[in-house]
């Protein structure tokens, strides 16, 4: 199911751990969905001097975190903000379609840690590179019910986690195909 590179990172993950006096911390995911990642960074002269992570999740989630930490180490903040989910997945030799959402989480967690550092520095907010590629939410509830990815108006499949989607005719919220009632308004789904 996984490439050799994914298995190698899963078995021997780089940079596992926490940084007690971290300059920035970023947490994404939710144990309910199966994946949760926390990234810790140390910044010196505008570069990521140290990157550590902890991950609760499947083999892909652990491998992705390990690779992201490796890619980010030594990079400038700007460079690290440009690490995309696509790059991570490619670097790992690909991920099964239903595991693609894991690659998004890794880059998101790193970007969140950098954001957290920048906020601490100046109070200024910086949009992560990965996020800016997503369409803007037109309505508050146009998110994937599984991975929270922002979805366009007429999505049938989440581009991130590949979950099949169905829209509630009543409130317009996205639900997973096969659900009986809308998670948002409780109306029956056809």
């Amino acid at each position: 199911m996984y490439t050799d590179k994914v298995m190698e990172h899963f078995l021997h993950p780089r940079n596992v751990g926490t940084i007690p006096d971290a300059d920035g911390v970023g947490e994404v995911g939710n144990p309910v969905c199966g994946d949760m990642m926390t990234f810790y960074i140390k910044v010196k002269d505008g570069r990521l001097e140290d990157v550590k992570f902890q991950t609760f999740g499947c083999g892909a989630a652990i491998a992705v975190s390990s690779l992201v930490s490796e890619m980010a180490r030594g990079k400038t903040l700007e460079e690290a903000m440009k690490i995309t989910n696509q790059q991570v997945a490619e670097e790992l030799g690909g991920l099964p379609p239903h595991k693609m959402h894991c690659s998004n989480l890794g880059a998101d967690a790193l970007h969140k840690a950098i954001e957290n550092y920048l906020q601490k520095q100046s109070g200024e907010k910086v949009e992560p590179a990965g996020k800016s590629q997503q369409p803007e939410a037109q309505e508050e509830h146009l998110h994937c019910p599984f991975c929270d990815f922002v979805l366009p108006e007429n999505a049938q499949l989440c581009a991130r986690c590949q979950v099949k989607l169905i829209r509630c005719e009543h409130c317009g919220d996205y639900n997973r195909e096969g659900e009986e009632t809308c998670r948002h308004c409780g109306a029956g789904l056809v």
């Binding site: 078995l11 144990p31 309910v32 990642m37 609760f56």
Partner: protein
């Protein structure tokens, strides 16, 4: 290299005696049981023997056995076939919340035809309360289906009790006994069952061979139309070699039942105690006593099932998990959800089903390899770090 295959429910080797019995029916005894000539009649006799062997295992008459291709087919035939043939009684079907998808989705299909389904919840050990079934039965109820045992959490359901209350109300009762037959004693007469599904691959037989027991005189609408096979209830040329294998496996299972149950129960208990003693924050899922002899299942907090499964596989240990990440649907198992397990805890699901040949050596090996796997994954888990911090703060 040491190894321990503990995923019997997903796939198991065909027993050598069974394979030997099957082999001639691929080549020299190739006849079609429906042919009247001697070559066909040889196959027909083999099929009759297999039917008798299966009937003996569950204590029914051989005419009450309908051969099919899988446990899923047996369940579909039971749910759809019984509901459609008997809908004059009513259009309500009652199932438990932890049924196999082949039962739940067959019921869902019937809803499109106007049937209504009631799902009976289970308690935190996965038990169905017969009282709740009794409450749900209405004059509209045509069929109740509750599984005999759940392979994911091991719990054995009180089907005899449910069957008897269904009987008293004139409602048909089916049980999906795919995980149970061949692994625990099953007697359809003593239990008072109308219909039961079983599958050969769960007790040393081949894949592709299964059966539906149907009490004599029960009306059934066939799902497969065509020839007269299986007394007009399931058309299609019989898979003779596989069914010969099912028969042989049934014969052996009946012969060895008592010893096997005792031996595997002792091993399973040692496995469960070993795991619970060597690791903290691990939950046994399912009922501690009322469970399949060859089944042990856990939820390991702060780690995810697929990560454990992959790590164990590299040590030569094969297990299953009901976590969201191991399923292609990215959802935790409906069984764990129905038992009210916290979804984040259910992510740490691990399911072991032991082959007949499992011995102390395999259990020792697992108990040696498993705790380090969990410790390694916990060391990289942010949830475990948080748990330790909270624990420290309390003290």
């Amino acid at each position: 290299m040491n190894g321990f295959y503990a995923d019997k429910q997903a796939g198991a080797p065909v027993r050598p005696e069974v394979l030997e019995a099957m082999l001639p029916y691929f080549s020299e005894n190739f006849g079609n049981p429906q042919s009247l000539h001697s070559v066909g009649q040889k196959a027909a006799r083999a099929l009759k023997t297999a039917r008798e062997q299966v009937a003996r295992l569950i204590n029914c008459q051989q005419e009450e056995i309908i051969f099919v291709s899988s446990g899923s087919e047996a369940n579909n035939l039971a749910i759809k076939g019984l509901a459609l043939a008997n809908q004059a009684r009513g259009q309500q079907i009652i199932v438990s919340a932890i049924e196999h998808p082949s039962v739940l989705k067959a019921a869902k299909f019937l809803e499109k035809l106007g049937f209504r389904t009631v799902q009976i919840p289970v308690d935190h050990q996965g038990l169905v309360d017969p009282g709740k079934v009794a409450e749900a039965i209405s004059p509209e109820t045509v069929l109740v289906s509750v599984m005999m045992a759940n392979s994911e959490v091991g719990t054995i359901e009180p089907v005899a009790e449910i069957a008897s209350l269904c009987r008293s109300k004139g409602v048909l009762f089916h049980t999906d006994a795919v995980a149970a037959v061949g692994n625990i004693p099953v007697d359809v007469r003593a239990m008072g069952l109308d219909a039961l599904s079983l599958a050969a691959d769960q007790f040393g037989g081949p894949k592709g061979a299964a059966a539906l027991y149907l009490r004599k005189g029960t009306k059934l609408t066939p799902l497969m139309d065509g020839g007269v096979q299986e007394n007009n209830r399931r058309a299609g040329t019989e898979n003779v070699p596989a069914l010969v294998g099912l028969g042989k496996a049934a014969e052996l299972a009946l012969l060895e039942m008592g010893d096997k149950v005792r031996r595997l129960t002792a091993l399973r208990n040692r496995l469960i105690e070993g795991v619970l003693n060597s690791l903290d924050e691990v939950i046994l899922t399912g009922h501690p006593q009322k469970r399949l002899p060859h089944q042990a299942s856990f939820c390991v907090k702060f780690v995810e099932g697929e990560a454990m499964l992959l790590s164990l596989d590299l040590e030569g240990i094969q297990v299953a998990s009901g976590s969201a990440c191991t399923s292609r649907s990215l959802r935790i198992s409906h069984v764990l959800a129905a038992m009210g397990l916290d979804p984040s805890v259910a992510q740490g699901s691990l399911v072991l089903t032991l082959l007949d040949g499992t011995g102390d050596r395999e259990i020792d090996y697992f108990l040696e390899k498993f705790p380090p796997v969990v410790r390694r994954l916990r060391e990289m888990s942010p949830l475990y770090t948080k748990y330790l911090q909270e624990k420290r703060n309390v003290h």
